[in-house]
């Protein structure tokens, strides 16, 4: 009986489903895939907050049409992210799919989204696969290609006269790209390398690896631990008393998400540590000032780079939808409008390369305490100007 009812209900739900079509009365639909459960939700929520703020800033409209955002959780798993993307494309028939923290989730989801002809805009993940041979006309990134930030850091290491490093990163697509990136530009010796288990059941106790790093005799340690793992890593690094013997250089580890937690844990040792990034909350441009001020006012904390990229993703989409007057039926026109990147980016403007990844500046930034006692980052110097990723040459576009 129960079964029959369920079956009938399923049938009814399907019959009642409205037939979709892209008319002007319909809202512009944007699917946003990110991590809203598991400890990595700390990143996903920051992105969601920024996207909501961006929606507010544009008055919930673009190209004369209302905007509807559908958030989907990837559960920090490629397979779940792919299912979520399938649903967005097939059931919700969204016009744009964006979000994506994790390279492996993006890689798993890209086929279904791109096969359906939907525009895919990464607001964080930048796997080398999609930048090189696997580049696609409907794929855009408003963040960076994975290799770039660590390449900038490699240059910074050279400039600081560091001769050898020990490398630690999570064992997934982005971790491997990041390691490749730093090895591309760092001229000294890599004394050792550890790739640790990642995902919802990531390894968070690094005692064995830290002991190896210390024994390796390297001059510095280079790490990539995004999100919560970053806090755990720095905590253990400090507890092991390595600040003096093994200075820390990191990418995507010391950020607006980990700094408040490190402050709560009283780990003052992290202040002054340096990392590279394409953006910082103190970058001096109108769009950034408005974004950071309003974000701080609304959510009480500094936005992370994840938030900044999500905000930019919304602005990029708006610029394209505005340019075609809200008519998304002509994909070529939308694509051309997207490729122009004609909007006021919070990073102070950038242009897309041939592979639809940004060509942009990279800065060395330092963890500092602001005038109100909050921990944040400020720009120290510019490492790269208008830098393009090394995979762009392999892209046939």
């Amino acid at each position: 009986m129960k079964k029959m009812l369920l079956g009938a209900a399923l049938g009814a739900v399907m019959m009642a489903g409205p037939a979709f079509g892209a008319s002007h009365g319909e809202p512009v639909k944007i699917g946003f895939v990110t991590t809203l459960t598991t400890p990595a939700a700390v990143i996903g929520n920051d992105m969601k907050n920024a996207f909501d703020l961006a929606l507010e800033h544009i008055g919930g409209e673009m190209g004369g049409r209302k905007v509807e955002v559908i958030y989907e959780d990837d559960g920090f798993k490629p397979e779940v992210g792919k299912q979520a993307s399938d649903k967005l494309v097939k059931q919700d028939e969204v016009d744009f799919v964006t979000g994506f923290i994790w390279s492996h989730v993006l890689l798993a989801s890209s086929k279904s989204v791109l096969d359906s002809g939907t525009f895919l805009i990464s607001a964080n993940a930048g796997p080398s696969q999609l930048a090189g041979k696997g580049c696609h006309e409907n794929f855009f990134s408003v963040s960076w290609q994975n290799d770039q930030t660590p390449m900038a850091l490699g240059e910074a290491l050279n400039a600081n006269g560091v001769n050898s490093v020990y490398i630690m990163a999570p064992n997934y697509a982005a971790g491997k790209d990041m390691v490749a990136g730093v090895e591309r530009t760092f001229k000294g010796e890599v004394k050792g390398k550890d790739l640790t288990k990642w995902g919802a059941d990531a390894q968070l106790d690094f005692s064995a690896e830290l002991a190896k790093a210390k024994a390796s005799g390297a001059e510095a340690i280079w790490v990539f631990y995004p999100g919560k793992a970053g806090g755990a890593f720095i905590q253990q690094y400090t507890q092991a008393g390595l600040q003096d013997s093994l200075p820390l250089y990191s990418v995507f580890t010391v950020d607006a998400l980990s700094l408040p937690r490190l402050k709560d844990a009283g780990l003052t040792g992290v202040l002054g540590s340096r990392a590279t990034q394409h953006w910082s909350p103190d970058l001096d441009n109108e769009a950034n000032k408005k974004f950071v001020t309003d974000f701080l006012a609304k959510y009480g904390s500094y936005p992370s780079f994840y938030a900044q990229q999500s905000y930019d993703a919304m602005m990029l989409i708006k610029s394209a939808v505005d340019a075609v007057g809200g008519d998304l039926s002509d994909k070529d026109a939308v694509r051309a409008a997207l490729a122009k990147a004609d909007f006021a980016s919070t990073r102070g403007g950038f242009k897309f390369g041939n592979n639809h990844f940004p060509v942009q500046n990279f800065y060395l930034r330092e963890a500092v305490e602001d005038s109100e006692g909050r921990w944040t980052t400020k720009v120290v110097s510019t490492v790269y100007e208008d830098h393009q990723d090394p995979h762009a040459a392999d892209c046939g576009m």
Partner: protein
């Protein structure tokens, strides 16, 4: 070979081992005495950590937070036994697996509702945040030494409790022959509640000890609980001594695998592949050991006597 590194890694393995022991001790007693498979035992590990984190933030004292969190986790365990576990003792193992699988989902989502998805950092007092020089070349974080000490203290305490007290006698009797204990007219329900709640509290203590290192997070108990099962199977179900030895073996295999296996594997495969494969292979070793023991000596290394 670098001796200082080896000793450091042995101590790291010991630290992981005692943490696993804290989880496995309750698990093995619950399994041994009540013949109850509790997949949700790892949830107490998580709940303990969150309760402790909240108290530490409130009281601004780590030690006080831990001391108060233990009885609270005990209470959570007591309620879980009363509401769900008790009705399941008479059922078969399949039902245990399923119901406690459901409990895991309930606990995980409840923590998500109460504490949010972000996880919780637990700050340590300065005296625990430093390092201790074990020798001239070996410098270990004080806190890791503290974990080892607490774990060993609990192990000794449990040993005394189980071998020297009346309750311990009943527990031992229960683990080797349940029906007999019942026949002796012991209030078996109370014994079960007690063991279950105490097991939960010790698992909670393990969660509290690990969180200052890794932060408390949702689902933190779900992967370690499977390893804890491996531990009690290796050690012999129902045996606290077996749990202790099993935990040390597993802790050592895991740490040594992470420390040395990649160097070994580089001898016959590319560096890149060795880096990736080594942690997975050391995780595999644990399961290979477990399968081997199950196939050859299903009762484990130290089965409780007179079964």
């Amino acid at each position: 070979m670098d001796t200082a590194l080896l000793i450091t890694q042995l101590l790291n393995g010991l630290q992981l081992g005692v943490l696993l022991f804290l989880l496995a001790a309750g698990l093995t007693l619950i399994f041994g005495i009540m013949d109850f498979i509790n997949l949700a035992h790892g949830s107490f590990y998580m709940v303990g950590a969150y309760i402790c984190g909240t108290l530490v933030a409130l009281l601004d004292s780590f030690v006080l937070g831990v001391i108060l969190a233990i009885p609270l986790t005990l209470a959570v365990g007591y309620v879980a036994e009363l509401v769900v576990a008790r009705t399941l003792y008479a059922r078969d193992h399949l039902d245990h697996v399923l119901a406690t699988f459901g409990l895991i989902l309930i606990f995980d989502t409840a923590v998500h509702l109460f504490w949010g998805a972000e996880g919780m950092a637990i700050p340590l007092p300065d005296w625990l945040n430093g390092q201790i020089a074990v020798s001239e070349t070996i410098l270990l974080p004080t806190y890791r030494i503290a974990i080892i000490s607490v774990g060993l203290a609990v192990a000794v305490g449990l040993y005394v409790l189980v071998t020297r007290t009346r309750i311990g006698m009943l527990i031992r009797a229960g683990a080797s022959n349940r029906t007999m204990v019942q026949a002796l007219g012991v209030d078996i329900k109370r014994l079960f509640s007690l063991v279950f709640a105490a097991g939960a509290a010790i698992a909670g203590l393990a969660g509290m000890m690990v969180s200052p290192i890794t932060e408390a997070s949702i689902g933190m108990g779900n992967d370690i609980i499977i390893v804890a099962f491996v531990v009690i199977i290796i050690g012999g179900i129902g045996s606290v001594k077996g749990a202790f030895v099993g935990a040390l073996i597993v802790g050592m295999i895991d740490t040594m695998g992470r420390s040395y296996l990649d160097q070994f594997m580089k001898l016959f495969m590319s560096d890149q592949n060795a880096e990736t494969a080594a942690p997975a292979v050391s995780a595999m070793l644990i399961y290979i050991l477990m399968a081997a023991i199950l196939a050859v000596r299903p009762q484990g290394l130290f089965p409780p006597r007179v079964r």
